[in-house]
Amino acid sequence: MLAYITQRLLSTVVVCILIVVFLSLLVHFVPGDPATIILGPRATPELIQRVTESMDLDKSPVMQIVSFFGGLLRGDLGTDVFTNRPIVDIVMSVLPHTVILALASLLLAALVGVPLGVLSAVRPGSWADRILSLVSVTFVTIPPYLSGLLLLMLFSGTLRWLPTFGAGDPSQPLDYLRHMILPAVVLALTWIGYIARLVRGNLIEVLSQDHIRAARAQGLKRRTLLYRYALPNALAPTVAILGVALGGLMAGAVFVEIIFSRPGLGTLITESIQTRNYPVVRAATLAAALLFVLANFLADIANAALDPRIQLGKRAS
């Protein structure tokens, strides 16, 4: 286990280095002089020079990478040229919003998606299954920007049940939750469909396996058979795939955060790309990547917990 964690950490470090290398190279090639863009028409050459220096852009990509990691070890990702705030603070101030949103939507998706999948799998081919399958496919295919705007129009605009923007006040949990509902639902929609389909497929497969037949032959109740015996088997691979699919969640989060005007990594990164605020792009992307790696790691652990046959550290092949 320890060796496994060490191994995961090492590969995470390598992934981070590659990401930073990639971003640094990208900065090198992307047109648009960040300093000019940041400072606007009124920039003087000296000023451009200063910003360029403060963003390390005068250095070679290699040196940029080295100095970035040097800073990273000290917990210092530099200072934002716009606000003069430490970039760590900026990223950390939006990070919780994204993490909580992701967790909330994942939870929601699991709470809805798993039962949907079970419902379909119990009677494959039935009308209920057909309808649920169509619903889940539709959920998967409707892009979040479409569903987001439509739900926003309906629930916040026409019905006025829910707030129209922002993340709410974190110090007021209820208020924060109110602001979370729509974004989480929108983000969860895709996942509900996704999970329902995965669970359905896996469960149908599990239900056809010998051990379920064997358990049935012992006179187990249908519910026991389904929820205690079959479902855990079906959930393990689902969880594993969800870990990888978490990358997609960040993509969805970009749209959701923009539409619902939520602070978060998605909005931070898109905005920083537009303004060529590379140090922030780099730090925030790294944070997103770390989130992804962490989520994957947790998914693997959850998977191993659900399926005792899986031993962490054995290379999945």
Binding site: S11, V14, V15, L18, I19, F22, L23, L26, F29, V30, P31, G32, P124, G125, S126, D129, R130, I131, S133, L134, V137, T138, V140, T141, I142, P143, Y145, L146, L149, M153, R200, G201, I204, E205, S208, V244, G247, G248, M250, A251, A253, V254, F255, I258, G266, I269, T270, I273, Q274, V281, T285, A288, A289, F292, V293, S317
Partner: protein, 292 residues
Amino acid sequence: MAQQVQASETRRVNWIPLADPNWGTGGRIAAVMVAAIVLVAIFAPLLAPYPYDAQDIPNRLQGPSQEYLLGTDQFGRDLLSRVIYGTRIALTTALPAIGLALGAGLVLGLLAGYLGGAIDTVIVLILDTLQAFPGVILALAILALAGPSSLVYVLGLTFIPGYARVIRAQVLSARSQPYVQAQRGLGAGHLRILFGHIFPNVVAPVIVLAAMDIPSVITLEAGLSFLGMGVPPPSPSWGVMLSEGFQYMRQSPWQIIWAGAALVVTTLSITLFGEALRRVLDPRSSNERGGA
């Protein structure tokens, strides 16, 4: 046993007619829809009543009428024509993008899976890195780098890890299959084993994956267009239509209705088609049968 005998009889793939029972009703409908969508894309110039960029500013933001069957957008352009041409955009960005991802994924996956060792580790790390990048953000970053002309490559790039992984896993599992051992036993070289025997086995699931991914690419393209980084105007990308439609939603909701419907119907059809295709190509998973 009786079941096996029966299964092996139906396992033969029936390509042209949709006679294979694995298609299912839903699958057949989806297949017909996909065919229709492809035809619409190919024959767009014949089907569209107007050029997609012909403006009629006095008649802008109109609802459906005899002149403009689905109404007009903010330039007074015929929405029907734009939706029809939009099919073209969707397919001409999605297909090459998926092709690219497929090609690159095949090369990486085959190399990593077959050679293993250090090459495998390096490739997997690169894939990890690509995957750890949030797709939209990677796309935005690269689009900023290379401009809108790179759209297809960008879309493709974000899908490479998926394919490479699937292919690698397939190759790994195929590599340990007896038939690969048997090929080695016959004295077959690596290339023959890889391309003559492993490749054909890897291709089918990957083709299915590709069919399932096309909707994702279309959605992503529309999403990037929605964020203003997609195809340049006046090309009628559904994403562009959606984002512009939202702006005029209050005056005329038609643009988002049609573009949204086109997007959802297309992605839905292709997804269902892909699923049916999987059932047909890989009947071992035919317990999936009965889906919508």
